[in-house]
C-alpha cells in the first residue's frame, strides 16, 4: 500500500516528464516514420530505405566512420594511456589537460581547423607544395576518421589509464614469478585486466562518432552518414521529407542502441578493482625509448588539441571581412561584441537554465531512484537509459515532430532548446546522484536519527552536505555539454534563439573563420572555467568527463 507522500508525487511527476519530453516525441518519430505525407499507414519509408542505394551507402558509411573512429581512438588512446601510466613522462598533467581540451571542444571546430591546415587551400598543405610535396586534401572519409580519432581518443585514454593504474602490481609480479616473459605478462595479465576498459572506451568513441553531425557535414564532401542524411531530408528547402527524416532517425536510434547496450555491458564488467596498496610504479625510460614515449604522448596530445590551438591563434588574427590579413588584431572579438552579443547571451541563458533544471530535477529523481527501491524506481532507472541512446539530431527532429502542432506548441521558442538539452543530460545527473547516494552508508542518517533528528532533517543535515560537491561538479560538467550542444539545437533554432555552436557552424559554412574562431575560443573559455570549478569540487577526476 503506497502512501501518497512527497515521493509518490515526485514519482508521478517524473513519469509525466518522461512521457512529455521523451516517450511522446520519440513515439511521434516512430509513428510518423510509418505514415506517408497524406497520413496513410505505410512501410514505404522503410522499404525505400532498404531499396535506395543512397541510404544503403549512408548506413554503411555510418558504420565505417563508427568503427574507424573506434579503431583510431583505441590506437591513440591506448598508446597514450600506456605511456602515461607506466612510464615517467615529463608534464604528465599537461598531457592530460590536452586530452581534456580535445574532449571539451566542439567536433566541428576540429573539422574546420584541420581544413585550415590541410584543406584545399590549407596552410600546411600549401607549405608542403611549396617545397615540392603534394599531398591530397583532407576531405572525405579519411579526413573524417582522422578527426574522429583525434577527437575521441580521450575516451579510451581516460578509461584505460584509470584501469591501468588500478591493476594490482602483485598480479604482474606473480606472473613474473611463474616465469612469464614481459611480453607474455602484458598479453596474459595486464591486457585482460584492461580489456573491459578498452572496449568500453572504444564503444564510447563509436557511439559519439555515429551520432556526430558536424564533422561529416564539413569534411565529408559527399560522404554522407545517417545523421547528415536525416538533417538534409529534414532541412531541404524544397521537398523537405519529414517522414523519411524520421525513418532515418529510427534507424540511427537502433544502430546507436546496439552499441550503447554493448558499452554499458562492458563498463559493468569493468570491475577489477585493484587494491590501493600495491599500485604499479612508473618506469623511468632511458635513451631513445624515452624520447619515443615522450614523442608519442606529446604528438597525440598536441594533435588532439590542435583545433583548439588553431582557433585561439586565428581568433586574434587581423581580418578584412572574412579574409585573413597578416598581423594580429582583436577585430573578431569586436564583431562578437557588437553583432553577436545576443548569440552569446542565448547560449549562456539556455545552458544555465538547462543546468539549473537538470540539477534540481536530477537530484530529486536521483534520490528517489537510490532510496526508494522498488519495481517502479527500477523501471524509472531503465527509462532513463533512453536518452543515452538518442543522437542529438534525433532528439531535435523528435521535438519538432511532437511540439510543432497539437496541444503543446513549442517550436521556435527558447524553451524547446532548453528542454532538449535538459532531457538529454538529465540521466547523467540522476545516475551520478543515485550512485553517490548509494556510496553513503545508510547508518550515517540512522546515526543522526538516533541522536534526535527527524528523517527529513537527518537527510538535510547529513546526506545533502555530503552529496552537494558532487552535484555541483556534475552540474558544471552538464554545463559543458549544454553549451557545446550543436546537433539538436541546429534542428530547433530560429533566428532569435541561435546559440554559439549554431552560429559557429553557420559562420564556418559562410567562410568567416575569424569570427568562428573567436566564438569558439570564448566557448572553450567557458567550458574550461566549468571544468575547473568541477575539479575544484570533486578533485581532479578526469574520468567524470566521460
Amino acid at each position: 500500500m503506497p502512501r501518497f507522500n512527497f515521493w509518490t508525487v515526485v514519482m508521478i511527476l517524473t513519469w509525466v516528464l518522461l512521457f512529455v519530453l521523451l516517450f511522446i516525441p520519440v513515439g511521434s518519430v516512430l509513428i510518423s516514420s510509418v505514415y506517408d505525407q497524406e497520413g496513410n499507414l505505410t512501410f514505404a519509408n522503410y522499404l525505400k530505405f532498404l531499396g535506395e542505394p543512397r541510404f544503403h551507402q549512408a548506413f554503411i558509411n555510418t558504420l565505417v566512420v563508427g568503427f574507424g573512429g573506434l579503431l583510431g581512438a583505441l590506437l591513440l588512446g591506448s598508446i597514450m594511456a600506456f605511456c602515461v601510466s607506466r612510464f615517467v613522462i615529463r608534464g604528465g598533467r599537461f598531457v592530460s589537460l590536452l586530452a581534456i581540451l580535445a574532449l571539451v571542444s566542439p567536433p566541428f571546430i576540429g573539422a574546420y581547423s584541420w581544413i585550415v591546415l590541410f584543406g584545399a587551400g590549407g596552410v600546411v598543405r600549401g607549405f608542403l607544395r611549396d617545397i615540392g610535396i603534394n599531398m591530397p586534401p583532407i576531405y572525405g572519409v579519411g579526413g573524417i576518421l582522422i578527426v574522429f580519432s583525434l577527437k575521441f581518443y580521450p575516451y579510451v585514454y581516460l578509461m584505460v589509464s584509470g584501469a591501468l593504474s588500478n591493476v594490482n602490481r602483485s598480479l604482474e609480479e606473480a606472473a613474473e614469478g611463474l616465469g612469464l616473459t614481459p611480453w607474455q605478462r602484458t598479453m596474459k595479465i595486464s591486457f585482460p585486466m584492461v580489456f573491459p576498459a578498452l572496449t568500453a572506451g572504444g564503444l564510447l568513441a563509436l557511439i559519439h562518432a555515429i551520432a556526430d553531425f558536424g564533422t561529416p557535414r564539413l569534411l565529408g564532401r559527399g560522404y554522407n552518414v545517417l545523421a547528415t542524411e536525416a538533417f538534409t531530408l529534414y532541412s531541404a528547402e524544397v521537398g523537405s521529407n519529414m517522414s523519411m527524416a524520421t525513418t532515418i532517425s529510427v534507424i540511427l536510434i537502433l544502430v546507436s542502441m546496439v552499441f550503447v547496450m554493448l558499452q554499458r555491458y562492458m563498463s559493468r564488467r569493468n570491475v577489477y578493482h585493484g587494491n590501493m596498496i600495491n599500485k604499479p610504479v612508473r618506469i623511468q625510460l632511458k635513451g631513445w625509448r624515452n624520447v619515443l614515449a615522450h614523442f608519442a604522448v606529446y604528438f597525440i596530445g598536441l594533435c588532439g588539441a590542435m583545433p583548439v590551438i588553431i582557433s585561439v591563434i586565428y581568433s586574434f588574427r587581423k581580418t578584412s571581412g572574412p579574409v585573413f590579413q597578416d598581423g594580429f588584431a582583436l577585430q573578431s572579438y569586436e564583431r562578437i561584441l557588437f553583432n553577436l552579443g545576443d548569440v552569446v547571451r542565448n547560449s549562456l541563458t539556455f545552458s544555465v537554465a538547462a543546468v539549473v533544471l537538470i540539477v534540481m530535477v536530477g537530484t530529486v529523481v536521483g534520490v528517489l531512484v537510490a532510496r526508494r527501491t522498488n519495481l517502479n524506481t527500477a523501471l524509472l532507472d531503465g527509462a532513463f537509459m533512453v536518452p543515452y541512446v538518442m543522437p542529438g539530431i534525433v532528439i531535435g527532429i523528435a521535438f519538432i515532430a511532437a511540439f510543432n502542432t497539437g496541444p503543446i506548441v513549442l517550436t521556435g521558442t527558447a524553451l524547446i532548446i532548453i528542454l532538449s538539452i535538459f532531457i538529454r543530460r538529465l540521466p547523467y545527473t540522476v545516475r551520478t546522484t543515485a550512485s553517490s547516494l548509494r556510496q553513503i552508508s545508510p547508518s550515517m542518517e540512522e546515526a543522526a536519527i538516533s541522536l534526535g533528528y527527524s528523517p527529513f532533517q537527518a537527510f538535510l543535515r547529513i546526506t545533502v552536505p555530503l552529496i552537494v560537491p558532487g552535484i555541483i561538479a556534475g552540474g558544471m560538467l552538464s554545463f559543458v555539454t549544454a553549451i557545446n550542444e550543436l546537433s539538436s539545437s541546429l534542428v530547433l533554432y530560429v533566428g532569435s534563439t541561435m546559440t554559439m555552436p549554431v552560429r559557429i557552424y553557420l559562420l564556418i559554412l559562410d567562410g568567416d573563420f575569424g569570427t568562428a574562431a573567436a566564438l569558439s575560443t570564448l566557448l572553450l573559455l567557458l567550458s574550461g572555467c566549468a571544468v575547473y570549478i568541477a575539479f575544484r569540487f570533486m578533485g581532479r577526476n578526469e574520468q567524470a568527463l566521460l
Binding site: 547508518s443 546515526a447 538516533s450 541522536l451 534526535g452 527527524s454
Partner: protein, 351 residues
C-alpha cells in the same frame, strides 16, 4: 523489575522468512546485555527494532514501562553505535559529538563542557578540532561512542562496534567500552558474533539462532552450563563422541547413564593427557594415538585418535617437553563431570 522488555517479537520478511520468531528478553537498569549469534540469527534485526529503524511484524517493546513501538525513532532517546562507525565526515570531531545535543536545546556553554568530558572519556580530548576522515578506525569508533553517550540516552545500542578493528585494538577498546558503561551506568544492548568478546564484556548474554533464543544467562552459565547443543558449539569448542560400544563402556565406567541421550560431547580443555597406560581417580582413561599437534603459545591442541572417536585435547602452558609426536601412544583422561548429554532435539539433558 526489568527496564527494557521485549515480548514475543516477530519479524517476517517476505512470505516465509522469519528473522525473529517469538523472541522475549528483559534487560535491567544499568545492565550490559549482549545478543550473541551467527550472522542471520536475528540479533541485528532485534537491535534495529529496538532502535526503531525496522518495525516488528508483531510483539511488544517497552522501555521503562512505556510502549516504545509507537514512538518514532528520533524521539526514542536511544544512543546507537554502528559497525561502520557512521561518523559524519564533513563535521569535526567536536561537532560530531555535539550533533545530538543541538536538537535537545542544550545551551552552548553546557555543550562545550559535556562534549569535552565525553571526548576525554574516550581519550580523544586532544583531537576535538580535527576532521574524522583521516583518523583510524579505533579513533572513529571512539567518536561514535562519545557521540552516542553524550546525550545521556535512556538506552545504548551497539551493533558489532568492534568487528572492523584489528584483534589487539578490539580487546583494548572492549575493555574501555566496559569501563565507560559501568561509569555512566546506562543499560546497554551489544550485538556481536564473537563469543570471546561476549564473554568478556557482558553481564548477561542472550545466544540466538535462526530467529529464536537458545539461552540467556551470565557468561559463566553460557560457557560452563550450555543448555543446548548449539550454545555449547557456538560458545567455545566441542568434541563429540562417536556412539558405540566403546562410548557405552566409558559412560558405564564413569557411572553416567542418560537413556534419552542422543549425543555426548566434551570440551577440549576438560580432557587430560597422560602417558600411555596411566590411570586416574574419578576419570575414564582412553588409550589413543596422537595424529596432530598444534602449538599455539599459551596452549596446545593435541588431536588424538581414540576408540570413541577423534578427540582434541587442549593442554595449557605447554612447555618444550609437552610436544607430542605424531603416532605417539597416549592416554586421554575424561573426568566424570566433563561429558555433556544432549537429547534428540539438541537440548541439554544431563552430564
Amino acid at each position: 523489575m526489568s527496564y527494557l522488555t521485549v515480548s514475543n517479537a516477530t519479524k517476517q520478511f517476505g512470505q516465509s522468512f522469519m528473522a525473529l520468531n517469538g523472541v522475549s528478553v528483559s534487560v535491567a537498569r544499568g545492565e550490559f546485555f549482549t545478543l550473541l549469534g551467527p550472522s542471520g540469527c536475528g540479533k541485528t534485526t532485534l537491535l534495529r527494532a529496538i532502535a526503531g529503524f525496522n518495525d516488528l511484524s508483531s510483539g511488544e517493546i517497552t522501555l521503562d514501562g512505556s510502549n516504545l513501538r509507537v514512538v518514532p525513532p528520533h524521539q526514542r532517546d536511544i544512543g546507537m553505535v554502528f559497525q561502520d562507525y557512521a561518523v559524519f565526515p564533513h563535521l569535526s570531531v567536536f561537532d560530531n559529538v555535539a550533533f545530538g545535543l543541538k536538537p535537545r536545546k542544550v545551551p552552548a556553554s553546557e555543550i562545550k563542557t559535556r562534549v569535552t568530558q565525553a571526548l576525554d572519556a574516550v581519550r580523544l580530548g586532544a583531537m576535538a578540532e580535527r576532521l574524522p576522515a583521516a583518523m583510524s578506525g579505533g579513533q572513529q569508533q571512539r567518536i561514535g561512542l562519545a557521540r552516542a553517550m553524550v546525550i545521556n540516552p535512556r538506552l545504548l545500542l551497539m551493533d558489532e562496534p568492534l568487528s572492523n578493528l584489528d584483534a589487539k585494538l578490539r580487546i583494548e577498546l572492549r575493555e574501555e567500552i566496559r569501563d565507560i558503561q559501568k561509569q555512566v551506568d546506562i543499560a546497554t544492548i551489544y550485538v556481536t558474533h564473537d563469543q570471546e568478546e561476549a564473554l568478556a564484556i557482558s553481564d548477561r548474554i542472550c545466544v540466538m539462532n535462526a530467529g529464536r533464543i537458545e539461552q540467556v544467562g551470565t557468561p559463566q552459565e553460557i560457557y560452563g552450563n550450555p543448555q543446548t547443543r548449539f550454545v555449547a558449539e557456538f560458545v567455545g569448542t566441542l568434541n563429540t563422541f562417536t556412539p558405540g560400544e566403546a562410548l557405552d563402556a566409558m559412560l558405564g565406567q564413569l557411572g553416567l547413564s542418560v537413556p534419552e541421550a542422543a549425543s555426548w560431547s566434551v570440551r577440549p580443555e576438560r580432557l587430560g593427557l597422560a602417558a600411555s597406560g596411566s590411570s586416574a581417580e574419578g576419570a575414564a582413561v582412553l588409550a589413543g594415538k596422537v595424529t596432530k599437534y598444534t602449538y599455539l603459545g599459551r596452549e596446545a591442541h593435541v588431536q588424538v585418535e581414540t576408540p570413541v572417536g577423534t578427540l582434541v585435547v587442549q593442554v595449557a602452558n605447554p612447555g618444550m617437553s609437552a610436544t607430542r609426536n605424531e603416532g605417539e601412544a597416549v592416554s586421554v583422561l575424561v573426568p566424570r563431570d566433563a561429558p555433556m548429554a544432549f537429547g534428540a532435539d539438541s537440548a541439554r539433558i544431563g552430564g
